[in-house]
Symmetry: C2
Subunit: 333 residues, 2 copies
């Protein structure tokens, strides 16, 4: 079982409009809702890959009720009834809170295909709710083959929360992946997660460098045992104890990038649990990510495109310079 | 008691953002929710003016539950606890349906002050639900001093629905106001409501004329016993059996026009029930409308501004030409 943590879950709402006109009244042609937040998206893709997953984090209020109902209604792997029988289940272990789960609204302009995203801040989590979560998290992490910590922190959660969750997973001997940004990433990486997956902006914010290879290796020195940077259409760049690789899709894909990073996380996590060599993990992550961009629905991946892309991802090893010093995580304030 | 009908109620959500950037991710700084839909807004203003009101229409799903809870939590007149003790109550007589009440989202850009509105289409109402509504409506209308029919029709409701409701109110001997647009207005006005309140666009669409006095008188010939056109910052233009008037605020006001039309409807309805002469009704409607534009919160009116503006509204009689032919509503398809 893989445990994914989404502290700031969301009811993801998609509005389709003929065209979004700012500062005017826009009629929404079509409304759809699904359970959201990065960890929930990761779990859905993991299940589609045949990995049982458990989602935890916080949920509350009417939007929280809607989220749980939609999560329970999803078939294995988050797919409708026709899904492959090999799909595994997503189990709801979300912790109830008094506050109300946030909404995110994606307004899809059908003329341009562009999306305007509106993200509510999320409920304030109380210290007692955080304590209840920690108790549940420790029990779940102890049973997990891997743990993924995903997304932003809701109001009320201390900025070192991910560092605390990384340490607890490591104390339980479980591999832990961290996918967040800003100060929670800076604090979390210092607690030495097994894997961090920043995008180019998050990596530049963390390290001060826009040169991906340099920044990725710097992130390792800050405490990430392995660092996989997502470089958008250019694919992934990985710096690991076993070496550094670039993995790129055969052609640049056009579509909706929503959820592409979450699919990459699912690819990396499943590869970790299956003990695949790094090049295979990276190829899977890149193919899943590109197949997510190509899928018509935001956050889902196109299974046929995935099968087609997987053998065609180019993985190339980077400078074999050992960089011994980077293997010993540096102490960091 | 004044009965207001909102067939397409809404949970009105307001998002405050530092600046709305289309085709990007926007963080919402502040979220607020209130019961919405034109008839509910009208009832709130009526209550603030001391008139007991009853709201009916359809409500369903989690957003419908939220709407009812917020409606029940509102103090008299929709105001918080410090409200004037003279405020009257808004009573919930909404009819439950299987579908889910729509959301409307107003995204307020705090840099420009502009609002981008996103309106969901609303639930589909079944024939059985419409029949249940009609039974309830007839009972409520029979007890009402006046009836207001407000806003758009949800999917599933036949385009002649307002015409049907106008006829039922007239059969019960109750004065009825119609505030809608497009084909529902065209059909509804032919059923001879006592009052219609189109804005300039709705009036032009109905009559084909952009010349307000001509169009207003044409709308009377189509069946409206009295027609009050709202001309935005220019105020109101009324064509009635007693004569025609223009009513204009002392100065053009700047602010958020959301709900200004609903406040004008409340002013007209309260004046009708209080049997005020037309010039006083129009002055009240214009002052309420301008005080709504000036209020910081969308759809509320600034009570001090209302008291200040009311005696300063200029009401001028238009051409005293009797236009006898226009008093007899023409039969219309």
């Amino acid at each position: 079982m893989i445990l994914t943590v989404t502290l700031n879950t969301a009811l993801d709402i998609t509005y389709r409009t003929a065209a979004l006109t700012p500062h005017a009244t826009n009629r929404v042609a079509e409304v759809s809702e699904r359970p959201g937040g990065k960890g929930i998206n990761v779990a859905r893709v993991l299940a589609a890959l045949g990995h049982e997953s458990v989602v935890t984090g916080f949920v509350g209020g009417r939007t929280g009720d809607a989220l749980r109902e939609l999560l329970a209604a999803e078939g294995p792997g988050g797919q409708p009834a026709h899904a492959a029988v090999s799909d595994a289940l997503v189990t709801d272990a979300l912790v109830p809170i008094a506050g109300t789960t946030r909404r995110t609204i994606a307004v899809v302009d059908e003329t341009t295909g562009d999306t305007t995203q509106l993200n509510e801040p999320g409920p304030t989590v109380t210290p007692a709710e955080w304590a209840a979560f920690l108790t549940s998290y420790e029990e779940l992490a102890a049973r997990a083959d891997a743990v993924a910590l995903c997304g932003s922190l809701p109001p009320g959660i201390h900025v070192g929360a991910y560092a605390e969750l990384v340490r607890l997973a490591r104390a339980a001997g479980r591999p832990v992946l961290l996918d967040t940004s800003g100060e929670p990433l800076r604090r979390g990486i210092a607690a030495r997660p097994d894997l961090v997956k920043p995008n180019a902006d998050e990596l530049a914010q963390l390290t001060g460098s826009r040169e991906p290879l340099r920044a990725t290796r710097d992130a390792r020195r800050r405490g990430g045992r392995s660092v996989v940077a997502s470089l958008g259409a250019a694919g992934l760049l990985a710096a690991t104890p076993d070496g550094s690789w670039r993995a790129a899709p055969p052609t640049a894909v056009r579509g909706n990038p929503t959820g592409a990073g979450d699919s990459a996380v699912a690819g990396l996590l499943s590869g970790l649990v299956e003990r695949l060599p790094w090049p295979e993990r990276l190829a899977r992550a890149v193919a899943l990510s590109a197949a997510t961009v190509l899928a018509p629905a935001a956050g889902e991946f196109d299974r046929e495109a995935y099968a087609d892309l997987l053998p065609r991802v180019a993985v190339t090893e980077q400078s074999s310079q050992p960089e011994q010093e980077s293997h010993a995580p540096r102490q960091h304030r």
